[in-house]
Structures are given as C-alpha cells and as structure tokens.
C-alpha cells in the first residue's frame, strides 16, 4: 500500500500526533454505518481528509471497510516509525520557516524524519540540535560564552584598569601602627 503521499505532508511531531488521533477517530466510526465513517472523515482536518480519500482511491480500497481498517492501522505504524529531529530555536518558527527547515532535512538527511521544534529565547540565535541520542549546542549564547571565556583577560584589561587605580589609592591611604591604635582604641 502507498503511504508516501500522506507521510510527505507530516513535517512536525505535532502534525504526527494530530494525524494519529484522527486515525483513531476514523477507526472508531468505521464499522458503525457508512454515513458514520463519512461523517468522521469530514470532521478531521481538511488536508488529512483529502489526502486519505485520495489514498483510499489510489489503493482501490474505498468500498472495503476491512481494507480501510488495515490501511489505517499500518499508517499508524508507519507514523510511529518516523525519526524526530529536535530543534531549540530563539524565535517562533513560522510555517515558512518549518517548510524551509523540512526541505533542508529531506535534501540533506532524506525522508522519514519529522521536526520537533520548541522556542528558547535564552539561546539568542542559532539552534540546539538533538538527533538519535546526539546533542549539539550551536546557539549564539554558547558561542558568546566561549568567546568571553577565551578573551576574558583582553576584555577586562580594557574596562577594569581605571577602577583598579582608584581602588589602590583608597586602600593605601594612612595605614600605619599609629593610625591603627587610634582606630581600634588600643
């Protein structure tokens, strides 16, 4: 059976969860009445509904409820097999951004992978990437921290010099035994 038309439309883990719950809904109404299944098919998202109708026709199973059931169950299994690429971004990812990232994933990593995107403002820019147990922090925050650690002395030499001079002046003022006797009353 052909699932690629439907799976190619699943870009994120959110899309996947949505389709799984819709399949459960369809399976629930499948053997009730013919109208019942149609009603359930109309109640799910338009794009998934359309893709499923086309798939049923292409696989020539529109009139066979048992075949539809088998198709939907296998589709669930295929959905659960999809790999997840987790991305932490500093901004809200728009549909356009998701499309661009998904295209990059297909071109560079192949199909069968979906995106799990979450927002983390503290990373400033870039991304934190998690894939198949690997973790890579490629954020701007991390880069800046590295720069500030490696060039710490250079940065401090510029900004602290003036404070250091004024501090020393203060600390060296009138420190003799006589002055201590007066201060501590001994």
């Amino acid at each position: 059976m052909i699932y690629s038309d439907i799976l190619s439309n699943i870009k994120t883990s959110e899309n996947s969860r949505e389709l799984l719950s819709e399949i459960d809904l369809l399976l629930e109404g499948l053997f009730k009445t013919q109208d019942g299944f149609e009603a359930k098919l109309n109640s799910i998202s338009a794009i998934n509904s359309e893709k499923l109708r086309i798939a049923f026709i292409k696989n020539n199973i529109s009139s066979n409820k048992e075949m539809i059931k088998e198709y939907l169950n296998l589709l669930k299994v295929e959905l659960q097999k999809l790999k997840t690429l987790k991305l932490s971004l500093a901004f809200d990812a728009s549909e356009h951004t998701i499309d661009n990232l998904f295209v990059w994933v297909i071109q560079n990593l192949g199909s069968g992978i979906i995106l799990d995107i979450k927002k983390d403002k503290t990373i400033l820019a870039g991304a934190i990437i998690e894939y198949e147990g690997k973790y890579e922090d490629l954020s701007l925050r991390k880069r800046l921290e590295e720069v500030f650690v490696t060039k710490r002395d250079q940065i401090l030499n510029i900004h602290v010099t003036q404070n250091r001079h004024s501090g020393e002046k203060f600390c060296n003022a009138e420190r003799t035994p006589e002055s201590f006797r007066l201060i501590f009353n001994i």
């Binding site: 690429l85 991305l87 971004l89 500093a90 901004f91 728009s94 951004t97 661009n100 990232l101 990059w104 994933v105 560079n108 990593l109 403002k121 400033l124 820019a125 870039g126 991304a127 990437i129 894939y131 690997k134 973790y135 890579e136 490629l138 954020s139 701007l140 925050r141 800046l144 921290e145 500030f148 710490r152 940065i155 401090l156 900004h159 602290v160 404070n163 250091r164 501090g167 020393e168 600390c171 420190r175 035994p177 201590f180 006797r181 501590f184 001994i186």
Partner: protein
C-alpha cells in the same frame, strides 16, 4: 307383754357383766386417786426444800459480800496512810539535798571567780606585750612588701608595655594582610560584575538585532555544521 325366758336370762347376764365391769372401774379409779394424792404431797415437799436451800444460799452470799467490802475498805485506808507518809518523807529529803547542793555551788562559784580574775590579769599583761610586738612586725613587713611591690610593678609595667607593643605590631600585620585579601577579593568581584554586564549586554544586543531571515540562516548554518561534525 311377755318376755321370752331366753331373752330374760340374756338381760340378767348382761346386767351382771356390766355391774362387774363398773365395779372394777370404780376400784381402779380410787387407786389412781390415791397415787395422785401421794405424788402431790411429794412435789410440795420438794418445793419447800428447794425454797429453803435458795434462801440459805442468798444469806451466805450477802455475808460474803459484806465481809469483802469491809476488807477492801480497810486495805484502801491503810494504803492512803502509807502514801501520805512516803510523800512527807520525800519532801523532807529533797529539801535537805537542795540546801546542801546550794552551799556546794556557792563554794565552787567563788573558786571559779577567783581563778578567772587571776587568769584575766595574766592575759591582759601578756596581750599588751604581744600587740606591741605585732605592730612592729607588721610595720617592718609592710615596708618590705611595699618595696617588693614597687619593684614588681615597675618590672610588670615594662613587660606589659613590651607585650602591648608586640601585640599592636602583630595586629597591625594581621589587619594589613586582611586588608590586602579584602582588596583583592573586591577587585576580583568587581571584575566579575563588569564581565557579566558586558556579556549580558552583548547577548541582548546581538539577539535583538537579528532579522527573521538571519535567524533562519543561522539555524540552517547550525544544521550544516552539525551534519559536517557528524551529529546528524
């Protein structure tokens, strides 16, 4: 009316039998009455004897009681007389003993008084001498101790002065060292704060000045780098 001879003989026989029976009964009754009379007399005799014995016993009891009472009265009177005599004797002897003891005590008191006066006179003489000697000893001892005290005080003052000077020098060094440490810590803390401020400002400025396209490009760059490094 005529009676049959047999009936007539039967009646005669019955009358004779009845008469005989009646006679036996009368004799028996008379004998019983005589026996009763004898018994009655015997009972009266015993009652009289019992009454006599009782009255005699009563008389004897009264006599015994009278005798006992008289004896008791006699004993009590004799005892009272003895007690009075004993009391009188005791009082006389006590009076005599008291007088004797008073005389003895008076004699002893006079002896003691004489001895006390003698001893007191002796002690008075001795004490005057002792007090005089003690005053002189105290004077000498006080002069000596005062001299020693002056010397010790002079030495202690000198030593204390040295100790205080040493302590001041020591404290001065400690405080100077603490001040140096404090100064270094403060400078280090100031450096840290300046560093953090610069870092935070840099992050804020860099994060906010990027456009959406630049953000997207940085994400793509990150993905490219991750792929190159083998993370993808």
């Amino acid at each position: 009316m005529t009676l049959e001879p047999i009936v007539f003989f039967d009646l005669v026989i019955a009358t004779v039998v009845l008469a005989a029976t009646l006679g036996v009964l009368v004799v028996s009754y008379v004998k019983t009455l005589e026996k009763f009379k004898i018994l009655q007399e015997t009972r009266l005799t015993w009652q009289k004897k019992e009454s006599d014995i009782e009255s005699e016993a009563h008389k004897k009891a009264v006599l015994i009681l009278q005798e006992a009472r008289s004896k008791a009265t006699k004993i009590i009177s004799e005892a009272s007389a003895s007690q009075d005599l004993l009391k009188k004797t005791f009082e006389e002897q006590l009076k005599a003993a008291s007088l004797d003891q008073a005389k003895k005590l008076e004699t002893i008191s006079e002896d003691f008084l004489k001895a006390y006066q003698t001893t007191l006179a002796d002690l008075k003489g001795n004490n005057i001498k002792t007090v005089s000697n003690i005053s002189k000893d105290i004077e000498d001892s006080t002069k000596s101790e005062l001299e020693d005290f002056k010397e010790i005080l002079r030495k202690e003052t000198f030593a204390s002065q040295k100790i205080v000077e040493g302590k001041i020098e020591e404290d001065y060094k400690i405080v100077e060292k603490e001040l140096e440490t404090y100064k270094a810590e403060r400078l280090k803390k100031i450096e840290e704060e300046i560093y953090n401020i610069i870092q935070n400002v840099s992050k804020e400025v860099l994060g906010k000045t990027l456009s959406l396209q630049e953000h997207e490009q940085l994400v793509i760059d990150a993905l490219e780098k991750a792929k190159k490094e083998g993370a993808l």
